[in-house]
């Protein structure tokens, strides 16, 4: 790629992809921005002109905004903590030589291939149903009153479903990281007198730090936009309304495109704040 000629040829060939990607991103973004400044009620008079920052003020001053932000954070943080803690433990377990290793690994990874809607339905109807769910049967077998999961502890139920979905992903990434750990380092630390816990804290965990940051980064991006799991289970009731779900309700249930778009812009800002923080952490970790 040294000469002037080959460089311009390369630019020319990259152009279609760049234009397509830009269009893909810029068109929806500018449409969202455009609608967020207009009063647009499709079933109640259509597009009724500019209203300035009215939508932004209304979205943020609505009584459901801060609870939605809080729910979003609880769900994201909860799933991150559960998947990383259990992911590290499972990865260490799967790293041991066992009989039928290949099959066990595939089984562990399987939940990741289940569609979000399907897994949410499975959890809702097969596990968490207060009358016929497996968990209800289990509770009754011990003589306890079944928990009405999606009504009594709705946010934690959703955290549980999401963790079940994302644990395989975290395990997979962490397992590959653990496998790349130099065996001689562990042996050296063993000779240096480090017990199991010291080896975990001083050797394994620092080795995994990069993989853990990557898991946090990728999962956060996806968890901020979860929708199907809430839609299928609680429909946003009982305080399970996340920011994404609130925007969906504003646009489709209240038929207020302007208000929803303003919420979308807030979501973009929030995602970018998170992204900047994460990029900094990841950047620092990837340099080392």
């Amino acid at each position: 790629m040294a000469t002037q000629h080959s460089r311009s040829a390369a630019r020319l060939m990259m152009a279609p992809a760049v234009v397509l990607l830009l269009g893909w991103m810029l068109v929806p973004l500018s449409m969202t921005l455009w609608f967020s400044f207009r009063k647009f009620l499709p079933l109640r008079g259509g597009d009724q002109g500019f209203v300035g920052f009215d939508n932004y003020v209304r979205f943020i001053s609505s009584s459901s905004f801060w609870p939605a932000v809080q729910t979003t954070l609880v769900i994201v943080l909860g799933v991150l903590i559960i998947t990383i803690v259990f992911g590290v433990l499972l990865a260490m377990l799967l790293d041991q030589p066992i009989w039928g290793q290949g099959i066990v690994r595939i089984l562990i990874i399987a939940p990741f291939f289940v569609m979000p809607t399907v897994s949410a339905l499975v959890w809702k109807n097969i596990f968490m149903d207060p009358v016929n769910g497996l968990l209800a049967h289990l509770w009754r077998a011990f003589g306890a009153d079944p928990v009405v999961w999606l009504t009594d502890v709705p946010v934690y139920s959703i955290v549980m479903i999401l963790s079940w979905q994302w644990l395989p992903f975290a395990t997979l990434i962490l397992l590959t990281a653990i496998q790349s750990l130099d065996g001689e380092q562990l042996e050296a630390s063993e000779m240096d007198g480090a017990g199991f816990l010291s080896r975990f804290i001083y050797i394994i965990l620092p080795h995994l730090s990069r993989a853990i940051t990557i898991v946090i980064l990728i999962q956060t991006i996806f968890l901020l936009s979860i929708f199907a799991e809430i839609f299928v289970t609680t429909g946003g009731a009982f305080g399970t309304r996340t920011l994404t779900y609130l925007i969906f309700q504003r646009v489709l249930e209240s038929q207020n495109v302007g208000l929803g778009s303003a919420g979308g812009v807030y979501a973009i800002i929030l995602a970018n704040i998170v992204a900047i923080f994460l990029m900094r952490i990841v950047g620092k970790n990837l340099d080392a």
């Binding site: 001689e184 000779m191 240096d192």
Partner: protein
């Protein structure tokens, strides 16, 4: 103190026996080198002594105590690995201090020992760097530093120089020998390089397929190899091994003569071999000629003075020094 005794030590991996029952004594303060071709079990033997592998049968004694089932950290041995096995996320200081920290030593004492080790190994300026920022030789020294701070009964080196380039290897060889003189601690060193073995060892243990072929000082092994394997393995370039009629003249199945024990002479005569010069390796001080068509062996290697000038294809006359011919019987064992 570091006297290590192996009694009938045996190692098998399921069906495969890597080390058949083996006895070996390593005296306190000795520099012992395990040498042998790859796959001969020398690293396994070292790992058995370190405790990183369990022995299948037999006893390992360290300073008279049975250490066979003691965990590695409690044996009082320190090991330097081939890949150095430094902890990449810790500074050099923390790497060296790690074994002391694990021993829950007092912080002031840790600092004193680390500073001390760093000055011995010329690492003082690098204490706050990460291993990734160091050169190969410096990493090697950090690994040695991590071993010496523990003041172990013996050091175990597992091919520590094989990742270094040739010039650095010679330098590190000196440094390790120097360190041994300074610390006067038992060192066990594994290598496949017979030059390292010859230059560093007090005692060489030549291994083949888990068996000890010969134990002795470098010069004993050089002068009196016990069998054909040791004869061919020790010495560079390799000893010339000749079978057939020429060997029968000396009453042996095989005779061996080192390249440096053959003289180049002017004319053919009684007991003089003749051949055609093949490849010549000019080292400046010496020249090694590879001689073909002698009727003795496929190639005869000869060391001559650097001034001898013979070209490819020239005829050459060789006279072996009769008093340094090694004789071996049909089993490959030395006849004295």
């Amino acid at each position: 103190m570091g006297r290590i005794v192996l009694e009938k030590v045996k190692k098998s991996f399921s069906e495969v026996t890597v080390i058949p029952p083996l006895d070996l004594e390593i005296e306190d303060g000795e520099f012992v080198v395990f040498v042998g071709p790859s796959g001969c079990g020398k690293s396994t033997l070292l790992r058995l002594i370190a405790g990183l592998e369990d022995v299948t049968d037999g006893t390992i004694r360290i300073d008279g105590n049975d250490a066979t089932s003691i965990p590695p950290a409690k044996r009082g041995l320190a090991m330097v690995f081939q890949s150095y096995a430094l902890y990449p996320h810790m500074s050099v200081r923390k790497n060296i201090a790690f074994p002391l920290k694990m021993a829950k030593m007092d912080q002031a004492e840790i600092n004193r020992r680390v500073e001390n080790a760093a000055s011995v190994l010329n690492l003082t300026d690098y204490l706050d760097r990460r291993p990734g920022q160091l050169s190969g030789g410096q990493r090697q020294r950090v690994a040695i530093g991590r071993a010496i701070v523990r003041e172990p009964a013996a050091f175990l080196f597992d091919e520590p120089l094989s990742n270094l380039d040739a010039a650095l290897r010679v330098g590190m060889r000196m440094e390790i020998s120097e360190l041994h003189k300074k610390l006067d601690t038992t060192m066990i060193y594994v290598t496949h390089d017979q030059v390292e073995a010859m230059t560093m060892a007090d005692k060489i243990v030549v291994l083949r397929a888990g068996n000890i072929e010969q134990v002795g000082s470098p010069l004993e092994l050089y002068r009196e190899p016990r069998n054909l394997f040791v004869a061919g393995f020790i010495g560079s370039p390799k000893m010339n091994l000749i079978e057939g009629a020429e060997a029968a003249k000396h009453g042996a199945h095989t005779i061996g003569i080192r390249p440096e024990h053959i003289d180049v002479v002017e004319a053919a005569g009684e007991g003089v071999w003749s051949g055609v010069v093949g490849v010549s390796e000019h080292l400046g001080s010496d020249t090694f000629f590879h001689i073909h068509e002698t009727g003795l062996a496929e190639t005869i290697t000869v060391r001559a003075d650097g001034e001898v000038s013979l070209k490819h294809g020239d005829t050459i006359h060789l006279k072996p020094r009769a008093d340094v011919i090694h004789r071996f019987d049909a089993e490959g064992l030395r006849q004295s």
